[in-house]
């Protein structure tokens, strides 16, 4: 008997037992699809989180302090950063803001936006980039110019398709001239767009717009990851000499959050990967059960085949082909389902094209096909070694 006949015989056996064949495949289909979908989507979610975190910029140190308990500390801190640790930084800006501000242009107005008071370094310390016009300049700060840079959302809503550069707007009633627009920082339409619903004016305008305010927040852009840690340590030390308690100030860096989130992401992936692995095992057990349940029936079939002259290797070849065909079809159907669900779900949830992880896909395929072939072959190998009379005795 040649391979082609063994192949045809296997197909016949599969078609002759449609329910059993389908159930065997189902285990593989579910196993493969579940692994692909879970792992790919977890990874997409992690990537998304990291991308979001990165949108804050790297190597940024945020300082919070209480200017009422120590009124001179703001100026002292600014001097310290500008003079003592200038070598470690690329920029520094006051980062105070007023929530609930109102911006208007002619009849158009926008409420509830965030008004920042920044320096010329505001954009590099907060990871904004100029889309049009110019950024705040050193001269704007020094001369106390009534200049404003708009967040992307504000420019969109108030000016639509008009060019806002050079136009005059009112911020909480005071007239300012638009000098530039920032690029949108958040491109995901499903995400909170507060980061683009803002405007920034020179911090020297604080008194004009917010009479009582003192500067309580700073953002510093450090040169690199190493300097970031150094800046954090130095500022903590500096501020500890200015206050007699630890609650009046705080020094943080987004790098530490990022590494924490990265850690959390990794454990997420491991957890969901394990769940997917379990579903693969459950699928495998399903395959095993179906195969073992039919051992008796198959043993008898093998007995009949041996009685009428089938050789052992012929029988094993037939069952091997049968199990392989079933597992391969199941594996590829699972693969297709896994891909479709991943892409569809990714589009719905993250609004982006999520493609399955190739490594995981390969592992899932190999494991499930291995299980299918292994357990499909098991009764054949066992039963074909029996004397025909013993195999035939299986009722």
């Amino acid at each position: 008997m040649n391979l082609f006949q063994a192949f045809r015989m296997s197909i016949k056996a599969i078609m002759g037992k449609k329910a059993r064949s389908f159930l065997t495949m189902l285990g593989i289909i579910i196993g493969v699809a579940a692994v692909i979908v879970l792992v790919s989507l977890t990874q997409a979610s992690n990537d998304k989180n990291m991308e979001w975190m990165r949108s804050f910029g790297t190597n940024i140190v945020n300082v919070y302090l209480d200017p009422w308990r120590n009124p001179r500390v703001s100026q002292e801190l600014e001097d310290y950063i500008a003079v003592e640790i200038a070598g470690l930084t690329r920029g520094m800006t006051p980062n105070s803001s007023m929530w609930g501000s109102r911006v208007s242009y002619g009849a158009k107005a926008m409420e509830e936006l965030q008004l920042y008071f920044g320096s010329a370094d505001f954009s590099i310390c907060n990871n904004y980039k100029i889309a049009k016009g110019r950024d705040l300049s050193y001269m704007d700060i020094q001369r106390n110019t009534r200049a404003v840079v708009l967040g992307a959302k504000v420019a969109d809503e108030i000016f639509n398709y008009m060019n806002p550069i050079g136009e005059q707007i009112r911020i909480n009633g005071e007239i300012f001239t638009v000098v530039g627009i920032y690029q949108a920082r958040v491109t995901d339409p499903n995400m909170w767009d507060g980061y683009d619903k803002m405007v920034v004016v020179p911090y020297t305008q604080t008194r004009l717009l917010n009479r009582n305010n003192r500067i309580s927040e700073y953002a510093i852009k450090a040169k690199d990851a190493e300097s970031t840690q150094e800046v954090v340590t130095l500022l903590q030390k500096f501020l500890s000499t200015k206050y007699d308690d630890e609650w009046s100030y705080g020094v943080y860096t987004s790098d530490t959050w990022m590494s924490q989130i990265d850690e959390a992401n990794r454990s997420n992936l491991i957890m969901l990967g394990s769940i997917a692995g379990i579903s693969l095992i459950v699928g495998g057990i399903g395959i095993m059960n179906i195969m073992l349940v039919t051992v008796t029936e198959r043993t008898r079939e093998i007995g009949i085949r041996k009685a009428i002259g089938a050789q052992r290797r012929t029988i094993i070849a037939q069952f091997l082909i049968e199990a392989s065909v079933l597992s391969l079809i199941g594996g590829f159907v699972g693969l297709i389902f896994g891909f479709l669900i991943t892409v569809f779900w990714g589009k719905m949830t993250y609004d982006m094209l999520v493609l399955p992880n190739m490594m995981i896909t390969l592992i899932a395929l190999v494991v499930s096909i291995g299980l299918g072939v292994g357990f499909g072959l098991y009764p054949a190998v066992k039963a074909s070694a029996l004397q025909p009379v013993v195999a035939l005795r299986n009722e």
């Binding site: 008997m1 040649n2 006949q5 015989m9 016949k12 056996a13 078609m15 002759g16 037992k17 008898r300 079939e301 007995g303 009949i304 085949r305 041996k306 009685a307 009428i308 002259g309 089938a310 050789q311 052992r312 290797r313 012929t314 004397q387 025909p388 009379v389 013993v390 035939l392």
Partner: protein, 226 residues
Amino acid sequence: MSKLIQIHKVYKIYGEGQESEVRALNGVTLDIDSGEYVAIVGPSGSGKSTLMNMLGLLDIPTYGRYYLKGELVSELSDTKLARVRNHEIGFIFQGFNLLGSLTALENVELPLIYQGIRASKRYDMAEDALRRVGLDNRMHHRPSEMSGGQQQRVAIARAIATNPSIIMADEPTGNLDSKTGAHVIEILKSLHAGGSTIILITHDEKIAQFAKRRIHVHDGKITEEL
């Protein structure tokens, strides 16, 4: 007539040396010539089925020698045994032993496939065998769509399709009513008339009457020959 089968002091012992030792065959010596119609008769548990399994190479003896067409088959490898069963022996079982997922034609084709015969020739041979048992009009039915008598005729067609030296029938009428059973016996008779060697295993003396030679088995031994 030439000697087709010679078995010499054949034993089949289960659990040898233990307290529960069973001697299913206890030193059987037997010759069967080509073209004979032999009935092996005995009550259940007498060892007649073990004898038939031994003769049909479905089982191997614990001791003793078995020559088929002069070849010592009791010492052959598993693979060679399969080839001998395939070419020399056709089985008819009490429970038919057809494969449920295959049609009548495909069941009959199966031993021909194992012989490696080309598809077109195989089809002709299988069709011819089915015609000889009067089932050429039901070739594409599955066993589940057939009566017991029809299934047994498919099994007979499968047994004769390869033109084997020996046809072994183990209680072929056991699962059939007397009318269809008589039909099966008729077919065996005509096969014998056509020159086939037939070994019929039965507990039923009436069916054994059709055979030219009757061998009685009791407690694993041949007790009388007629």
